[in-house]
């Protein structure tokens, strides 16, 4: 293992050729809700490569956070597999899984509830080291100080409790704690949504730097399209627990293929009054995940849906451009374009 900050991965292999660090195969998660079954995640397949930042977007209830927890085995899937660096998480013993957790970490949306209010932030940053390493107390303290420096948290804050820190500083604490054991994957679930714009900018800056210098892969879950576009290499778009489109960030944002992605992107408001808005406001509500539509999940709201869209679920297939996949039968006949 390299010491923190000692490596620069910018000159490493291109992303597409790197080894997958995480693979989700046919991932399904169902919740039992008072006798009925809620289909939160439906047959989701994706890969995250070493050092890659994958942005996951979709609206509330699309299954983003559930997937984030499934890939870390914080939630047990109903069926399907999650493979981390060649190891199938479901086949591991509790002990082996616990050891593996040093290599995959998570940062939550709300740093206030993610930290223990009665423990100093320094001790909380050091906890993963206590659990996963044999470092002595003084070695841990040194390491915590270096981590604080790494996330630009002044050392004087380490002895303080969370209540004495601002939201941005607390999120830095959470990030320091997440990278303490030099993980290869960090899941970030809306890490900047509760922060002010300038504070958010600082956190994004930090994350980009950590990826560059530590080569850590990230699953960046957010509903903020601007942020996801800025930080991600690849984008996964979810609708009702199903991936509708996946591909390089520039392509998915620049020329979205799936009608839902197009509608989603068109609702984004760039902070520039001159930027033309080609809005397509979706009619109706998202169908209930308890009673999933039979065919394409988006067909009931899709302006270009054909009758056969409701017959069977369209497969996620390559669209021919770069490394993009989309699940829409209208891409083949060119009828997928919304009139924006």
């Amino acid at each position: 293992m390299n010491a923190i900050g000692d490596t620069d991965q910018t000159t490493a292999t291109p992303l597409a050729e790197r080894r997958p660090i995480l693979t989700a195969r046919d991932l399904v998660k169902e919740f039992d809700v008072g006798g009925a079954t809620l289909h939160a995640v439906n047959d989701v397949n994706f890969t995250i490569r070493q050092g890659e930042i994958v942005g996951m977007v979709g609206e509330s209830g699309s299954g983003k956070s559930t997937i984030g927890r499934l890939v870390l085995s914080l939630l047990k899937q109903t069926s399907g597999d999650v493979t981390f660096d060649g190891e199938n998480l479901a086949s591991l013993s509790d002990k082996a899984l616990r050891a593996l957790r040093a290599r995959m970490q998570i940062v939550f949306q709300d740093p206030w509830s993610a930290l223990n209010p009665r423990m100093s932030v320094g001790r909380q940053i050091g906890e993963p080291l206590l659990l996963h390493t044999n470092l002595s107390r003084s070695e841990r303290r040194q390491r915590v100080e270096r981590l604080a420096e790494r996330v630009r948290l002044p050392a004087k804050f380490l002895s303080r409790t969370p209540a004495e820190l601002s939201g941005g500083q607390l999120q830095r604490v959470c990030i320091a704690r997440a990278i303490a054991t030099e993980p290869e994957l960090v899941v970030l679930d809306e890490p900047t949504s509760s922060l002010d714009l300038s504070v958010r900018a600082g956190i994004l800056e930090l994350l980009a730097e950590l990826r560059r210098e530590l080569g850590v892969a990230m699953l960046f879950i957010s509903h903020d399209l601007g942020t996801v576009k800025l930080i991600s290499d690849r984008i996964i778009v979810l609708y009702l627990g199903t991936i509708v489109e996946e591909g390089p960030a520039s392509l998915v944002f620049g020329a979205p293929a799936h009608p839902y992605t197009q509608a989603l992107m068109s609702a984004h408001l760039p902070p520039n009054p001159r930027a033309p808005l080609k809005r397509h406001v979706l009619e109706g509500e998202v169908p209930s995940p308890i009673n999933l539509p039979k065919g394409c999940r988006f067909a009931s709201r899709c302006p270009v849906a054909l009758p056969e869209c409701s017959d069977s679920l369209p497969p996620l297939v390559a669209t021919g451009e770069e490394d993009r996949r989309a699940a829409c039968i209208r891409i083949a006949d060119g009828g997928n374009r919304l009139n924006l």
Binding site: L197, S198, A201, D224, H268, P271, N272, V281
Partner: protein
């Protein structure tokens, strides 16, 4: 035509320490701006800048230790800040509608949606029950709620976030107010729902030639839905003007930092420091309140910055406003 004119509004937090010392925080410092008929004004700034406090001060919703200590807020020829509580109650919810941030906590959980809308009307005027219900149904339809008749019988917990926010909008609009104040009306909503609600708001403002004040930290919302914008920092309006002027030629260093921090303009790896802690309201820096965070700070910044008028209502409180005007971010 001016609907609401806030002039030199000052609000303090006054508290007493254990040693019986009186501590005063100047939470709002000479806040002035206007809302005209038929326009939406955006009020932006970071957490703690005083955006919500401005709305609460104007609407007489402050709670101790906050209190208005100066200025006026003239609506329809009357100063809201000195209005007796009974008259304020008459105006609030009737001529001035309010949409607050959290739809979940702003609806009465034990009262069906329809009853809440009827209650809202009857709080101000005696209305025949059938007429009030009819109006409630129409209003729900107007804010884009499908099957409004059925939704009248819904309980708040049965609504999704977007639907609850629409109901709040219906509540604020049902008495056909002339002014609407909306505090983060779309925060926490999905972008597609946000778009629908803002479209609706704009349509209503134009149709009824109302005025609206939107408090938000989303600069995208301001850029596309507001006519004018006021930028707040530490309880002061540091820049205001038309959305085009402020976004195209931002001339206060804080506005410029704010715009540079939006993901669309942010350049990762530039190493530029855009944020910083807000100043201590109990101990504001002398002179410009932004100077401790300002990239351009000079000695002169220890003196109060002048209000510089850059024309067409574009006003900036900075010693260097004229130098910064038109410079690239």
């Amino acid at each position: 035509m001016t609907l609401l004119a806030i002039d030199n509004l000052e609000t303090d937090f006054v508290s007493r320490t254990l040693d019986d010392e009186i501590r005063v925080a100047h939470a709002l410092n000479k806040v002035s701006f206007e809302v005209n008929r038929g326009e939406i004004v955006g009020l932006v700034g970071e957490t703690g800048a005083g955006k919500s406090l401005t709305a609460q001060s104007v609407l007489g919703l402050l709670r101790a230790p906050a209190r208005v200590v100066g200025g006026e807020a003239v609506f329809d020829g009357r100063d809201l800040l000195t209005l007796p509580p009974a008259e304020m109650n008459e105006l609030r919810g009737y001529e001035i509608g309010l949409v607050v941030q959290n739809p979940r906590t702003s609806l009465d959980p034990l009262c069906r949606i329809g009853d809440q809308l009827v209650r809202m009307q009857r709080a101000h005027r005696p209305v025949n029950g059938r007429v009030a219900r009819k109006k409630a149904v129409d209003m729900l339809a107007a804010v884009g709620i499908p099957e409004p008749e059925r939704r009248m019988r819904a309980w708040p917990h049965e609504l999704s976030g977007g639907m609850a926010q629409r109901v709040l909008m219906a509540m604020a609009l049902i008495n056909e107010p002339r002014l609407l104040i909306a505090d983060e009306p779309t925060t926490g909503l999905d972008v597609t729902v946000q778009a629908a609600i803002l479209d609706l708001l704009r349509q209503i403002v134009l149709e009824r030639s109302m005025g609206a004040l939107i408090i938000t930290h989303d600069l995208g919302v301001v850029a596309h839905y507001c006519e004018r914008v006021a930028v707040m920092f530490a309880g002061s309006i540091v820049e205001e003007g038309t959305v085009d002027a402020v976004f195209e030629t931002p001339s206060h260093p804080y506005t410029r930092a704010l715009l540079s921090a939006t993901p669309e303009r942010l350049k990762l790896g530039s190493g530029r420091q855009l944020g910083g802690p807000p100043p201590d309201l109990y101990n504001l820096p002398i002179g410009c309140h932004y100077r401790d965070r300002c990239e351009r700070v000079r000695d002169i910044c220890t003196t109060p910055p002048p209000a510089t008028d850059l024309g067409e209502g574009h006003r900036v409180q900075c010693h260097f406003a004229k130098d910064l005007e038109g410079q690239p971010l």
